[in-house]
């Protein structure tokens, strides 16, 4: 916001002061650079880059084409394709997202297609942890991308500009990563300076020039031929040479950038190293913390300094060699281990760099610190300095490699033990009786009255961390009311997973597994088959008919975007299991970004509302119909606001999953936080979604469709506008000037409802 910032006139180019986080700085840089296309998929802590850009876009501040991918693999594909077209391309990701994209990264570098990827670093799973370390970025060291490190929000802003120039340089032509510490930089606001001089920026960036593009039909080219030996090795020599050229080009671009901005970056940031005898080498924020401590130790007369590379690829080998030439001992801190290598990647590469200098005498110690976001305080830096000082004094390294800051534990201490297991009998109380009707060959269900269900022991314990009013838990409770016998659940990543298993506590009283939401369905299918095979081999006792363990894969709607491939594969194989989707219409765990299930026009943090944009741009995914097309024994929709209907369907689901194969169910699940409603509005909002036919309640049993609640038939049909008017995320659709949007919503709802109706009227559909 310009009005908040004060102008700086002293620098070579006009700039303004601002107060921004790393993610905000990345978004501002993107706006100021004017990328053509961004392909992205949300993941903490980098999500805010796309969110900030969405907000700016809604206000007409840029015209970057923002493409919400179905997952990071898709996002990387979008970016690759876009970059082949010769424009400027941006992406932002972290952790598992980077790993999920990994497969595409060497493809892009090997075919020499520049773009910029901001990585807000975060530890990789498992177990899942959203905080900072460098284990994700260490995975891409071999991907062939240039990797710049940005130690604070200012550097994030600046490096994005440099990345364009470096990557697009004719001698380089490589994609570039800008890596900054998750939360510590991505979410920490600092004072920054940003450009306020579009012409100067434009002159600095120049135009992107591609020797080949996929958008010049007059000059046809083949990208990515089938290349075996003896050619591939030669292609890799070119790639190696490009990286070597980057060694030369990067300092040149940094120098040009210093002329433009007044901010002078080196390939290696060296602090008080001129006469240092002892050094601490760290990346990004930890190095900044260490500088404070270095000052203090200098006051004590200790000759210490801090070394911190501003790039990991190419690795600044010779700079490090010369900086450490006269250093007696260095501690290299790694925020990530290379298990079994006796050092994290930074330590290993520093050792390798020094080994090439026959005169070098520096003692090197390797310490793994700060994993999973463990804070790095002054005291930690001081301890590492003192270890290096001791080594320098004694001329000896006592412990070449160890973890710093881990906790051994305290004897018998531990979290509370938990609740006793629930016996099969306690949860097999016949709350729903399922009987096949031989005439129709469909199932019929008789439910016990609700009051009788209240004393069924809950397989989920209270004390979980969800928001007040969250609809997931009523849904789960209702499902558990009617499901009989033993159950094993897998939750894909999402609110339900995060709120029930905050270590060292779990709300699950039955066996629970988490896998990332790309792959939960496949994981359960493997477990199901192992169960049946071990039963067959007599290793696990066989259960009477209909009493096998029931396997349920619980997913959010978002998990049915990124995990769609695995889920459809699982569905096509028809394993005996249930996929239960709670649909809260967005990626809520990461702060409400659009999912493909988010309806048209709804506001999310990546489909903002403003003068230039009005919520999500495409209609919601019809997931039940996709699964119905897999010819499953049973597919249903339900709402947590209509328990009897849902519980009937759930008991059928168990019957089919025990005997015939895969069941898919989608349950509309209230999210007051992100739907922007009062916490107690579930009933009316869910009812309106159903009565307006936005969310029809139906089932597809053995291929034939049956509507279980028909608002038309009972005279309860209401306009979609009634429903939209109840939620803060949709109210704008009813405002003047949005008539088109309302009409398009109405038409889509009516079209889909009519189709279901027609299907339900025909016995074979």
């Amino acid at each position: 916001m310009l009005d908040q910032a004060s102008a700086i006139t002293s620098g070579p180019v006009r700039q303004v002061h601002d107060f921004k986080s790393g993610n905000e700085a990345a978004a501002l840089a993107a706006r100021d650079i004017g990328f053509h296309v961004m392909g992205y998929f949300p993941i903490t802590p980098s999500t805010e880059v796309a969110e900030n850009l969405s907000k700016m876009q809604a206000n007409g501040e840029h015209d970057i084409v923002m493409i919400p991918a179905d997952g990071e693999h898709g996002a990387a594909g979008i970016c690759y394709g876009a970059a082949l077209g010769g424009g400027r391309v941006l992406n932002a990701t972290s952790s598992q997202g980077l790993l999920y994209a990994l497969e595409q990264l060497p493809v892009q570098s090997g075919t020499r297609v520049p773009m910029v990827l901001n990585v807000s670093t975060r530890t990789v799973s498992g177990p899942l942890d959203i905080r900072c370390d460098h284990s994700d970025i260490y995975f891409v060291l071999n991907a062939g991308w240039i990797i710049l490190m940005a130690r604070d929000p200012q550097a994030v802003y600046d490096m994005n500009f440099c990345a364009i120039r470096i990557g697009e340089h004719a001698d380089v032509r490589l994609p570039v990563i800008v890596a900054y510490d998750g939360f510590l930089t991505s979410h920490q606001k600092r004072r920054i300076e940003r450009f306020d001089d579009a012409d100067a920026v434009k002159a600095f960036l120049g135009e992107r020039e591609d020797p080949y593009t996929a958008l010049d039909p007059g000059k046809p080219v083949t990208f990515g031929p089938y290349m075996n030996d003896p050619d591939l090795i030669n292609n890799k020599v070119q790639q190696h040479e490009a990286m070597e050229a980057a060694r030369r080009v990067i300092p040149e671009i940094f120098a040009e950038f210093a002329e433009l901005s007044g901010r002078d970056y080196r390939t290696v940031d060296a602090y008080r190293m001129d006469d240092a005898e002892v050094a601490l080498m760290l990346l990004n924020t930890a190095a900044e913390n260490a500088k404070e401590v270095a000052d203090r130790l200098r006051d004590e007369g200790k000759k210490v300094g801090v070394v911190s590379p501003n790039m990991l690829r190419p690795f600044p080998t010779s700079e490090i060699r010369s900086l450490l030439k006269n250093v007696r001992a260095v501690v290299v801190g790694d925020r990530g281990d290379s298990y079994g290598a006796e050092g994290g990647n930074l330590s290993l590469e520093v050792r390798a760099a020094l080994q090439q200098d026959p005169d070098n005498q520096t003692l090197v110690m390797s310490r793994v610190y700060g994993l999973g976001g463990k804070d790095f305080y002054d005291a930690d830096a001081e301890e590492l300095f003192r270890e290096a000082l001791t080594a320098a004094e004694t001329g000896k390294v006592e412990v070449p490699f160890e973890y710093h800051g881990a906790y051994a534990g305290d004897g018998d201490a531990g979290p509370p033990q938990g609740l006793p297991p629930i016996s099969k009998e306690e949860v097999s109380r016949g709350m729903a009786t399922v009987t096949p009707n031989p005439e129709t060959s469909k199932l019929e269900v008789e439910l016990k009255p609700l009051w009788e269900m209240t004393t069924t022991p809950s397989r989920i314990a209270p004390g979980h961390g969800a928001c007040p009013g969250c609809g997931f838990f009523p849904m789960l409770r209702q499902a558990y009311n009617v499901l009989e016998g033993h159950i094993v659940v897998l939750f894909q990543t999402g609110c339900a997973m995060v709120t029930t298993t905050g270590y060292p506590k779990t709300a699950h009283r039955i066996t629970y597994i988490h896998n990332l939401f790309q792959n939960g369905a496949a994981t359960v299918s493997g477990l199901v088959e192992m169960y049946h095979e071990r039963v067959r081999r007599g290793e696990i006792p066989a259960a009477p008919e209909g009493e096998d363990i029931t396997f349920i894969m619980v997913t959010g709607d978002g998990g049915m975007d990124i995990g769609m491939g695995a889920a459809l594969g699982t569905a096509n194989r028809n394993h005996k299991m249930i996929i239960l989707e709670y649909d809260n219409q967005g990626y809520m765990n990461t702060g409400s970004q659009l999912s493909y299930a988010t309806p048209f026009g709804h506001r999310t943090s990546t489909s903002e509302v403003g003068s230039s944009m009005s919520g999500k741009r495409f209609h919601h995914k019809d997931t039940p119909q996709i699964f119905a097309a897999c010819n499953l024994p049973y597919v249903f929709t339900a709402s947590e606001g209509y328990p009897e209907d849902f519980m009937r369907k759930m008991s059928k689901a168990q019957w089919y999953a025990q005997r015939e194969g895969l069941v898919y169910g989608k349950v509309l699940s209230f999210c007051p936080l992100n739907w922007r409603t009062p916490d107690d509005a579930a009933q009316e909002v869910l009812q309106a979604a159903i009565d307006s036919c936005f969310f029809p309640l139906y089932e597809v049993e053995k291929g034939s469709t049956h509507i279980t609640y028909d608002p038309d038939a009972i005279g309860r049909r209401r306009p979609v506008a009634d429903w939209l008017g109840m939620m803060g995320k949709t109210r704008h659709i009813l405002a003047p000037g949005h008539a088109d949007q309302l009409e398009m919503t109405e038409q889509e709802v009516e079209k889909r409802w009519r189709r279901i109706k027609i299907k339900s009227e025909h016995p074979e559909l």
Partner: protein, 340 residues
């Protein structure tokens, strides 16, 4: 400016820590205060919050580190020894970590109703300044939020901050929204500044409050491998009381027909039932009450009950303890342990 500047370190930061729960606006409040300092008071500053996954009701800390304009801020570590602590919910004062590290000459500001002086204030340094402001009532009356009231109190209580600058930054933050939001926030801010009350003679601690070093329950020698939790349902030990924001559901037994509908919708699984057999041999259930240890006060039960047996009532101190029916009798809670 070269990017490896050589400022000298020293204890020249002014540091503020907000202790809150998700939904009360501590993060935005921190952003406003730090933004005011950096953009309007010509200071250097940083701001960040400690939350992980942003669920409403979970514990949130927000940190503001300020320095003179020419002093670079390099550390990104959380604030351990703050000059000021602002507590957004008086329930948080029960946790020793809330006051961890408060300096002897520091300031504590807490949200508390009139005359609400929690016994935990004895953990404050004797020489520190203690300020109470009724953030909840003021926010309610002004149709604003607690955060506006609390930063008003903060800006007035701390001479290092310029009240006018903070107020302007507050306005700028909400400038894009409806005019009435800016106005109501402005009024809440002003009342926070004007109605904050200094509480004398409550602290008992000599010198600084020691910084709390907390260890995880398990370490690498004791934790089961692979992160496995062989402790089914041990979230039942959590105490989530602070998630409620002034209101609680209350059951009137005489109106309840034990229909079970509320049990279908309660997200926190905290309705307590018992079984019995009628005089004529028929089994039945009774809704005995609510376990407030888990109840987050969403009022879905109230909304669903067709007989009006559960109603929404203002929560007064001690009420939950008195009315609570424990779901797992004999299970000792570990207060406020919420890792979401």
């Amino acid at each position: 400016m070269t990017r490896d500047s050589s400022d000298r370190s020293g204890a020249d930061f002014f540091e503020i820590r907000f202790e809150s729960i998700g939904g009360l606006g501590a993060h935005v409040a921190g952003k406003i205060v730090a933004g005011a300092a950096v953009l309007r008071m010509n200071m250097n500053g940083s701001h960040f919050s400690s939350y992980g996954s942003e669920k409403k009701g979970s514990v949130v800390r927000s940190f503001i580190r300020l320095a003179p304009a020419d002093r670079s801020i390099r550390t990104s570590a959380p604030i351990e020894e703050p000059d000021v602590i602002v507590v957004f919910h008086s329930g948080l004062l029960a946790h020793p970590a809330t006051l961890s590290g408060l300096k002897a000459d520091g300031t504590l500001i807490y949200a508390g109703h009139e005359n609400e002086i929690p016994e935990w204030l004895k953990r404050v340094p004797k020489s520190a300044k203690v300020v109470r402001v009724d953030a909840q009532t003021i926010a309610f009356e002004e149709k604003s939020r607690e955060n506006a009231v609390l930063i008003g109190a903060l800006a007035a209580a701390v001479p290092e901050l310029d009240r006018q600058a903070v107020c302007e930054e507050l306005e700028a933050t909400f400038a894009g929204k409806n005019g009435h939001i800016v106005e109501s926030n402005g009024r809440a801010f002003k009342r926070g500044a004007d109605e904050a009350e200094i509480i004398e003679n409550v602290g008992r601690v000599e010198g600084d409050v020691p910084t709390m070093q907390s260890h995880p329950a398990w370490g690498y020698k004791s934790a089961p491998i692979g992160g496995v939790l062989p402790t089914p349902g041990n979230t039942a030990y959590n105490d989530l009381q602070t998630s409620r924001t002034g209101w609680m559901p209350v059951l009137a037994r005489d109106k309840c027909i034990d229909c079970g509908m509320c049990d279908m919708v309660c997200p926190d699984l905290c309705l307590v039932w018992s079984t019995h057999v009628d005089a004529d041999g028929k089994p039945g259930v009774t809704l005995d009450g609510i376990d407030y240890q888990y109840c987050k006060g969403c009022m879905r039960c109230v909304e669903t009950c067709s007989t009006g047996a559960i109603t929404r009532e203002a929560e007064l101190p001690g009420m939950a303890d008195e009315l609570r029916v424990p779901l797992f009798p004999g299970l000792a809670a570990t207060a406020g342990d919420r890792h979401a």
